[in-house]
């Protein structure tokens, strides 16, 4: 029986009269991969923000490795050893790739170890040729890859990715899949995603959001064939 | 009893003054997300336009309500074409450039008009309430402010231009999507904003002595009022002007005018700490 690394109980977030996240109970085991899907406005991004501390939930609790972290700031959550990638690319455009990664490494390592860590990550993500280039000058796929490097450099035990495959070429997505598979040997991973192709290629368990609440939670194949899900999500999409 | 009436009038007057001095800045900020730090100097120029016109024998009300706004509006148009339009989308840079403009205008006014305090006298006599004399011109300013707000509401709600303006305030890319040239909208907005600044300066000119550096006194208060008001143009203007004006006067009467000003500034800090996006980001959401 694996340890539970993330748990929410009755997590609720209201904006004025709108309930974006409604009584969500959620559990994630160590080294588990979970995809969150759902139509636009289903509440998956709000859920993501409540968990990562970008938003403070109206009601309910968030636990990480058994400790309550409800309402913590993002930097406090990240300090626990949680890697977070937001929806839009969040990188330092006028710093170089290696400087970006160094900053992330420095949070968990000494200066000397950080330098070593940077070399290791650049090697692992095959970023060697662009290591000294400013991020602002890179293509979208490369920047996404660098951001993934930032997220994983601290050896997190939980990784939260909001739409990692958005706007990527097929080749980039393929590479991303490999990286995620490799991540799973050490961390639990949550992916918020639209791209069904991508989800099919990596996913095992999927949580479907609808109108702020969890509609269903099952293996990806079961979800895909479920009629209700097809109606609310796939049906609309098609 | 008489004193409380006087205090009430002074409070209304303080709120009205804040509305008046902030309106031009608010329009430009609300529509274009540009903080015009030369706003105070636009007011100063409105004052000088009025005084110059009156010295040429123009009726004072014509000078204040027509000549000054148009003159300053045209200066604003010139500024928009020469400077501001190159800086759209760069909030800090526009602030710095308009700051430079404000120094430039102070220098120009000094060279043209000299640094001597000038002014004109108020065209409205004072009147008596019980044992107190009240400055009749205060009422004029209150009335002008109310008309200003009403006018802005009417334009925004009732006209085609207002509709476009509201659209632009919500989404700056809306107007161009609907086929209106953003360039022309910005030009028009800056003209209107400048004209409002000119009007404010003109209307206040008879109360205060005018020197080229007069604008400095207004810009800080106007800036704070607009930013504290938040995204909704008119509701923000009224709500923050009301909070600041009333607090300012309460403390001015209870302690001294200095403490009144300090209380205003402290309130601003507290307000912004509690509501970092301004009053209307929390209340009056979605209003104008």
């Amino acid at each position: 029986m694996a340890e539970t690394v993330l748990e929410t109980s009755s997590l609720t977030m209201r904006f004025g009269g709108v309930t974006a996240c409604d009584n969500v109970d959620f559990k994630l085991q160590a080294r588990e991969l979970r995809c969150l899907i759902g139509p636009n406005g289903a509440g998956k991004s709000t859920f993501f923000k409540c968990v990562t501390g970008l938003l403070s939930p109206t009601e309910g609790n968030v636990y990480m490795r058994g400790d309550e972290v409800t309402g913590w700031q993002p930097h406090q959550i990240a300090s626990l050893g949680v890697g977070i990638k937001t929806q839009t690319p969040n990188v330092m455009d006028s710093l170089t790739v290696s400087e970006n990664i160094w900053l992330a490494a420095r949070r968990f390592h000494s200066v000397i170890d950080s330098n070593a860590k940077v070399a290791e990550v650049i090697d692992r993500l095959a970023l060697g040729s662009i290591a000294k280039t400013d991020l602002g000058q890179l293509a979208h796929g490369e920047r996404q890859r660098v951001e993934l490097g930032l997220v994983t450099v601290g050896d997190p035990w939980l990784v939260l990715l909001d739409e990692p495959a958005a706007g990527m070429s097929a080749k980039d997505v393929e590479r991303m899949t490999v990286i995620i598979e490799e991540l799973l040997t050490r961390s639990a991973v949550i992916i918020v995603e639209h791209d069904m192709q991508f989800i099919r290629s990596i996913a095992r368990d999927v949580t479907v959001f609808h109108q702020g609440a969890v509609l269903m939670e099952d293996h990806v194949d079961a979800v895909m064939s479920d009629q209700t899900v097809r109606n609310v999500y796939l049906g609309k999409k098609a | 009893m008489d004193l409380s009436f006087v205090i009430l009038v002074e409070m209304l007057y303080a709120v009205a003054t804040l509305v008046l001095i902030s309106a031009g800045l608010a329009v430009v900020f609300g529509m274009m997300k540009v903080i015009n730090l030369a706003h105070g100097e636009f007011m100063m120029m409105g004052g000088y336009a009025t005084i110059t016109a009156v010295n040429f024998g123009v009726n004072i009300f014509v000078a204040m309500l027509i000549i000054a706004p148009i003159a300053v509006g045209l200066i604003g148009l010139l500024v928009e074409r020469l400077v501001i339009r190159h800086l759209y989308g760069r909030l800090i840079d526009t602030m710095l450039a308009t700051w430079g403009l404000s120094l430039l205008f102070v220098g120009l006014a000094t060279m043209i008009f000299g640094n001597t305090t000038t002014g004109i006298s108020t065209p409205i006599p004072g009147f008596t309430v019980g044992n107190y004399q009240v400055n009749g011109y205060n009422f004029f300013i209150i009335v002008i402010s109310i008309m200003l707000i009403a006018g802005m509401l009417a334009v925004l709600k009732g006209t085609r231009a207002g509709l476009i303006a509201r659209g632009t305030m919500q989404r700056s890319d809306m107007a161009s999507a609907l086929g209106y040239s953003p360039d022309r909208i910005y030009m028009a907005t800056f003209f209107c904003g400048s004209a409002l600044s000119g009007l404010a300066g003109a209307v206040l000119a008879p109360l205060v002595g005018l020197v080229p550096t007069s604008g400095v006194a207004y810009i800080a208060k106007a800036f704070i009022t607009v930013v504290a008001g938040g995204p909704a143009l008119i509701a923000g203007l009224i709500s923050s002007a009301a909070s600041f004006g009333i607090i300012n006067q309460v403390f001015a009467f209870a302690v001294s005018p200095v403490i009144g000003d300090v209380a205003l500034f402290v309130t601003a800090i507290v307000l912004l700490r509690l509501m970092p996006q301004g009053i209307t980001s929390r209340f009056f959401k979605g209003k104008l």
């Binding site: - | 006087v6 305090t117 002014g119 006298s121 044992n131 009749g136 205060v208």
Partner: protein
């Protein structure tokens, strides 16, 4: 109303051209005597500073036309301090070290005077501060010829109270000058059997007097005395008139008109305000008439002449007279000449140096503002600076170097 820049430039050019002429004639190996000047001729205080600069240049031109001093020409070394206190110290250093001037005239605000006074004392450069101020400076290196609060207030208060009544309300500018003057007003009001019913201190940038005017009405005094300073405070007189108070409670002031503010107010706003100064353009004396003619010849009109411009003029004349009497430009010789109780005839009347305080004994004129002019009602000849005399005796303590807060 406003100063015509082009005229000023033209006349300044003319002045310097005139100053160039005798240079050739007077070349005697000594070179010119250097007069340093630091004044705010731009920035917020230039309404005070620019006419002072014009007056100083006029005085020097007249000295040079009359053959200079000790057979030498007087050369002006002037810096514009741009209403910035930091520039005062900077230019004072430059005047004493680089230009090595023989005397410095200048400084407008008390803060600017205090910024340079020590520098000039340390470098043993004679200093003339020619502005009305709050009093109390006691330093053998400095000579001051502006009226002090006691000289003004002692004359103004009884006169104003006689024209109104014993209950007095004071609204003063919130800085040293205002506080000191308010103290003297209280002293003389009480000495004349009156009573202070309220005192408000207003910072120099306050320009909305609604609440103040209401408080005054609540106290309902017989007289309001307003030592207010600067452009923002001018609004008080306007708002006072606009609320109709002018016809109910008489006003007096110790500062109104120093920078020609009364020419900005309309007759309806300004008429009737009681003031007391050393100078008025309306002063009907041969000296003043001739001074105004010479000023007009140099600058085109008399618009800019005001109290402290005349003080500055009289300061330069006093210094020149002392140089003549000393027969030397040695600092101590000049100081000793001045300490003989030297006096000159200026546009505002006789100005005598008070050896004990290095302040001036001068005529104070009680005046009333009428039709944008200051009509003299009564002249009180040769008033002593009794406030400074009470604390300062340079004869007994020549090394004194303080600005006293005068206990009243």
């Amino acid at each position: 109303m406003s100063l015509n820049r082009r005229n000023l430039l033209k006349s300044t050019a003319a002045l310097s051209a005139a100053a160039m002429m005798p240079k050739v004639l007077m070349a005697d190996g000594h070179g010119p005597i250097k007069l340093g000047s630091v004044l705010d001729t731009s920035g917020g205080f230039d309404a005070y500073g620019r006419p002072m600069d014009m007056a100083m240049r006029l005085a020097v031109e007249e000295i040079n036309t009359g053959g200079g001093l000790l057979g030498r020409e007087v050369e002006v070394v002037a810096y514009d301090t741009q209403s910035d206190m930091a520039l005062y110290t900077q230019y004072a250093q430059r005047l004493t070290r680089q230009d090595q001037v023989d005397v410095v005239h200048g400084g407008i605000l008390s803060a600017s005077r205090e910024a340079i006074r020590q520098t000039l004392r340390r470098s043993e450069t004679l200093y003339f501060y020619n502005v009305l101020y709050e009093g109390g400076v006691c330093d053998r290196n400095i000579f001051i010829n502006g009226v002090t609060p006691a000289q003004q207030v002692e004359a103004l208060v009884p006169h104003a109270m006689a024209n109104s009544g014993p209950r007095v309300y004071v609204i003063a500018a919130d800085y040293n000058y205002g506080h000191n003057t308010a103290g003297w007003i209280r002293h003389y009001v009480e000495a004349n059997g009156g009573e202070i019913v309220g005192i408000d201190f207003l910072p120099l940038d306050v320009n909305d007097f609604g609440s103040t005017i209401a408080s005054i009405q609540t106290a309902s005094p017989d007289l309001v005395i307003a030592p207010l300073v600067g452009g923002a405070h001018l609004s008080f007189f306007r708002q006072w008139a606009a609320s109709g108070m002018k016809d109910r409670i008489p006003l007096a002031s110790t500062t109104m008109g120093v920078g020609n503010e009364h020419k900005v107010l309309t007759p309806e706003e300004g008429d009737g305000i009681m003031v007391a100064y050393n100078y008025s353009q309306e002063l009907d004396t041969p000296n003043n008439t001739s001074f105004k003619e010479r000023w007009t010849a140099a600058y085109g009109n008399t618009d800019d002449i005001h109290e402290i411009a005349v003080s500055n003029y009289q300061g330069v004349v006093t210094w020149a007279e002392a140089v003549r009497q000393a027969g030397s430009i040695d600092r101590m010789a000049i100081i000793e000449a001045l300490e003989t109780g030297l006096s000159i005839e200026g546009p505002a009347g006789t100005v005598t140096v008070d050896p004990q305080t290095h302040h001036a004994i001068l005529d104070v004129h009680l005046m009333e503002i009428r039709d944008q002019g200051m009509q003299v009602i009564e002249t009180l000849p040769q008033r002593q600076p009794v406030d400074v005399q009470a604390v300062c005796d340079l004869g007994a303590n020549p090394d004194d170097n303080t600005q006293y807060e005068i206990e009243i």
